[in-house]
């Protein structure tokens, strides 16, 4: 049996960000896919800033806006996840 912490953690970061996208940023849930670009999901520059704040607040990880602009949802979640496990 695999360690539940290491297997569930990446999913939970992706889930947490996906949930923010749907609940806080009104992204239709069918558009929330790992391959989608964050800059396509967050259609306004203020949303990018707001997402950075939301990630900082809910996951305790400070992210740069430019990092959000360039990443896919899955890539961004993985990068946040890597910093979470580093701590």
């Amino acid at each position: 049996m695999r360690d539940t912490v290491t297997t569930s953690a990446p999913e939970s970061v992706l889930d947490a960000i996906s949930e923010l996208l749907v609940e806080k940023f009104e992204v239709p849930s069918e558009e929330v896919r790992g391959t989608a670009l964050m800059s396509d999901l967050l259609i306004d520059s203020l949303m990018i800033v707001e997402m950075a704040i939301a990630v900082h607040e809910t996951l305790g990880i400070k992210v740069e806006e430019k990092e959000l602009r360039g990443a896919t949802l899955a890539g961004f979640a993985a990068s946040v996840e890597a910093r979470l496990t580093d701590r």
């Binding site: 806080k24 940023f25 009104e26 992204v27 259609i43 306004d44 203020l46 800033v49 707001e50 704040i53 900082h56 607040e57």
Partner: protein, 393 residues
Amino acid sequence: MTGLGLVTPAGCDRDTTWSAVRAGRATAAPDPLLHGLPVSLSCRVPELDHPVLRRRGSAHLDPVDRFGLAAVAQALDQAGLDPREWDGGRVAVVTGGGVGGVLTQDKALARLGELGPEFVSPYFLPGYLINMTCANIALRFGVTGPALATSTACASGTTALGVARDLLATGRCDIALVCGADAAVTRLMVTGFSQLGALSDTGSRPFDTARDGFVIAEGAGALVLERPQHAAARSARPLARLIGHAATTDAHHLVAPDPEGRGAERAVRAALADAAVAAEDVGHVNAHGTSTRQNDAVEAAVLRRVFPHRPPVTSAKGALGHTLGASGAVEAALTVLALAEGIVPPTAGLAETDPGAGIDVVSGTARTQSAQVAVSNSFGFGGHNAVAVLALP
């Protein structure tokens, strides 16, 4: 005037609001969010859902913007105007509001204090600034002509009507969207009004012997104004005409009305002159009628002097509470509905008219009254007085 929209404590549309006002149904209720304050009575807008608020980007809107957008959407719908088809450069929007997005401000201030500056939302200022209801309306409906926000406290909605009328009259636009909106039922705002002694914790009773203050409310009223030629060219049916408007200032005290009501009286008389109607032509007065001791006494004296023929007077604030900067627009819309139906709605909460008032305030049930012309008064903190004269088409 070709379209009306209402979002009020009585309901999120024109018809439910009108039926409550027509029936004299008071909407004040104890407000759990005001628990522990000296005054905890308010009139809240019920849960609001409108197609215009289901678009992306709506989640961060302050309630004041939600109310305003829904009211304007209703008014455009009634006017039969499709923003996808109009020349936006010939459309103006004029809003009236007393305070802007104060709930958004409260939330941002709390986060600044509890979490620090890096946790303050970038949506704080777009939600808080007093011009943003106006900007949101322009953005959603493609208004690219003049857009401006007026702020004369509780007279704002009626001030906005006058500014819009002037933009139309001077040819600056063909259509003017007018929206009065306020969403100021917050702990701080209620405390502020309470410290000024303006609020009642028992109920809104305009012109009543036992009145002891206003009940704070929230909401929006929207009106579509068009140049008559523009409305005629598209065969739009006018609901009413805005035939006169005037604004004056007391310059007496920052928040207390001139005890003689001189500024208010000048505004009513100037609005009648602007409309080129005689005082006796007025068949219905929608009073500012806040239910404070001072406002109602001063206003009654003004009405006594200007209208010796004692036309029926009503105050919607008995039913809806005081929607602050929205009230002028809400009440102009209600006045149009009353003229159209040939009635004057009762003043909710009024049991015994102050014997000193000397005016004919309608109470109990609506009164049949086939008036052609009505006056709607709004007076605000700051000594602002604005009066609109409305007539059937």
